[in-house]
């Protein structure tokens, strides 16, 4: 954005404005775009989810407001705005007021590092992936505040459940990401996307692969296991249905949101859907190449970039449009999967949730971390690092060896873990049964 404004104001118009002013304007423009796009995505997602879940339950869903009910979310928004804001008498007013802000602010902040297309990252931090997850963990504090300040048993229970769930599923999520970070060797989301160029195989692992933007991590054994583990953890973090224990309406009303009304409730709702969008987006970015897709890199190579200053501006627009299209397509497909899971699965119990997270996902992701190390050792290390076996191998042979070994490790660990997990669960059930019959 800075480059574009710089070229436009000082180049085309020749006004000669100082750098800091252009910097300020470009930052303001970027912030405005983010603040507009985030609620729009949320509005679309509520409509999308309601229509999809209606179709799955053999209903039609919202269809009265506008063509096919497309203005329904806006009508809902107006309804939220005009509702009375009720604060319980026994509530802690300041904390009750602050909690929705603390929940919403981090989800919007997370947008700052999400790349939408080639060269379309709002803020390109070198540690953007870490920033994303660090900021996402702040909203746990907001949930705690909401649950406590409402002075309601259901709210407090819901907040406790939400935070326990978020804290325990953050670990497998981050562990599965570390595998990807190890392979890429960088914490920058942009370099993770750039790594995924190629055709089924990343052209960083195997130079000479035609670049169709399809060298996604999900096609490698390490990336596949990481993807499954991360997506499950993302479901838990976004409080999607198999893991929607914090707001289980049949048990604890609406969890931490129980005592909120009007636009404060709307803010929680906004935060939740924006978080879901971001989790789908980050899944698409990390394992499915983000904006990578056939044609984007070719278009971007002709465009105006820092490395290629005399390109054609038209290609910037084309590459951006195609990149955003691929990115949103992948994101919406993942959100469809989330809705699909909501339509297909009942809610888990809290002990099932904890068991699955701590006893299955974490060991699986730890084993996957080991596989990632093997992958790096086989594809990249030479004699200097002490990897003497692969000296003199061709890149194809190295890649094949890495693929087969990591596949064997991951499948073996998966089969072993499923057996151990099933055996431990069966044993637990047997003990429960014995106890019950012992009370006779």
């Amino acid at each position: 954005m800075y480059d574009i404004l710089q070229a436009l104001i000082n180049g085309t118009f020749g006004w000669g404005w100082p750098d800091w002013l252009i910097y300020l304007i470009s930052s303001l423009v970027v912030v405005t775009i983010i603040l507009v796009v985030a609620p729009l995505q949320m509005l679309f997602f509520t409509y999308y989810e309601r229509r999809v879940i209606a179709r799955m339950q053999d209903r039609i869903g919202p269809n009265r407001v506008g063509p096919e009910g497309i203005w329904q979310p806006i009508a809902d928004g107006v309804k939220m705005f005009t509702k009375e804001d009720i604060v319980p008498e026994a509530a802690d007013r300041i904390v009750h007021f602050l909690a929705p802000c603390v929940v919403v602010a981090p989800t919007i902040l997370m947008f700052a590092v999400v790349p939408w297309g080639p060269g379309m990252t709002p803020v390109d931090l070198p540690t953007s992936l870490l920033f994303f997850f660090a900021v996402s963990s702040i909203s746990a504090v907001g949930l705690m505040m909401a649950g406590w300040a409402s002075n309601n048993k259901f709210s407090l229970l819901g907040a406790m459940r939400a935070v326990a769930q978020m804290v325990s599923y953050e670990i497998p999520a981050v562990l599965s990401l570390i595998a990807i970070v190890m392979i890429v060797g960088s914490l920058s989301i942009n370099s993770i996307i750039e790594y995924q160029a190629g055709l089924l195989i990343s052209n960083r692992d195997l130079p000479g692969i035609p670049d169709l933007g399809l060298g996604w991590f999900v096609f490698t054994p390490v990336g596949f296991v990481a993807f499954i583990a991360f997506f499950i953890a993302a479901l838990a973090e976004g409080e999607r249905t198999p893991f929607d224990i914090p707001e289980a309406d049949s048990e604890i009303v609406a969890g931490y949101m129980t005592e909120y009304s009007g636009m404060k409730f709307g803010l929680f709702y906004l935060a939740q859907y924006v978080l879901n969008f971001l989790l789908c987006a980050i899944t698409a970015i990390l394992f499915f190449g983000g904006w990578q897709g056939p044609g984007v890199n070719w278009l971007y190579a002709q465009a105006i970039t820092p490395t290629n200053p005399d390109g054609n501006g038209l290609f910037n627009v084309l590459a951006g449009a195609l990149g955003v299209f691929y990115f949103l397509l992948k994101t919406y497909i993942f959100f469809f999967v989330m809705v699909w899971l909501r339509g297909a699965f009942p809610r888990l119990r809290i002990d099932q949730l904890m068991d699955f997270g701590w006893k299955f996902l974490i060991p699986l992701t730890l084993a996957n971390l080991f596989s990632a190390a093997v992958w790096v050792a086989f594809t990249r290390w030479g004699a200097a690092e002490g990897m003497l076996i692969t000296v003199g191998w061709s890149p194809v042979l190295r890649w094949l060896a890495a693929f087969i070994i990591t596949l064997a490790i991951n499948i073996g660990v998966y089969l072993w873990l499923t057996q151990v997990y099933a055996a431990s669960q069966a044993e637990r059930r047997r003990v429960e049964l014995e106890e019950l019959s012992a009370t006779l």
């Binding site: 870490l130 963990s137 702040i138 504090v141 406590w148 059930r429 003990v431 049964l433 019950l436």
Partner: protein, 216 residues
């Protein structure tokens, strides 16, 4: 630019100090914890000002995201102190303040007096970055500071095992609240004259629920 940085530093520093003062003076324990979180944020902002963005992000991730949540959890689970009844400041707080200031001064005064304050000039452009990035930190952990790193790892593992040992509850000592369905099941089992090993697990959905009841 220098002035802007100094003003920003001043604002952040005042914010941290105010938040820290509120932590120890506010009456409600939960409010104190929330002020502590604000204080952590301020420290993260200071790191950001020093261009150690990795440390800033980690500060937010660990202190705001994990430690403070644990503190809040601990406060909410210990019932006696959640209310506003407990005063944090005793009547003799000026004495404590004086002692703390004296102790702090004995540490800091020699440094302040003997320090020459010759701040090194800014390095010329193009000098390599000091240790701030994750790659350098990681390399430091597995080369120079390997033993310290391992010791910290062992320490944390010990803490983890200790937490499990403290929180572990004997199965037999758990309070059991039976649901209606379970009582029916028990009744049915009692009516059977021979208390043999019950049927396979899948055939007994009621039994599964007893676990959820016993774990809450």
């Amino acid at each position: 630019m220098e002035v802007v940085v100094q003003i920003t530093f001043g604002v952040i520093a005042v914010f941290i100090l105010v938040a820290a003062a509120m932590v120890v003076s506010v009456r409600n324990v939960i409010h104190a914890a929330l002020w502590l979180i604000a204080c952590f944020f301020g420290v993260g902002a200071l790191y950001m000002l020093l261009e150690a963005e990795f440390l800033a992000v980690v500060q937010v991730l660990i202190y705001v995201g994990a430690v403070s949540v644990l503190i809040l959890f601990a406060i909410m689970l210990t019932r006696q102190i959640t209310g506003e009844g407990v005063r944090q400041l005793t009547n003799r707080w000026p004495v404590v303040l004086a002692i703390a200031t004296l102790l702090f001064a004995t540490v800091l005064a020699p440094t302040l007096i003997n320090q020459q304050w010759n701040v090194p000039p800014a390095p010329p452009l193009g000098t390599p970055e000091p240790i701030a990035g994750p790659a350098e930190l990681g390399r430091g952990f597995v080369n120079e500071f390997l033993i310290q790193f391992q010791v910290v790892g062992v320490l944390l593992t010990v803490a983890l095992i200790g937490a499990i040992v403290i929180a572990y509850e004997e199965r037999a000592r758990r309070r059991k609240v039976l649901t209606l369905a379970e009582e029916l099941e028990l009744k049915r089992l009692r009516e059977q004259t021979s208390p043999t090993v019950p049927a396979p697990v899948e055939a007994e959905p009621v039994v599964q629920e007893s676990r959820s009841a016993s774990e809450r």
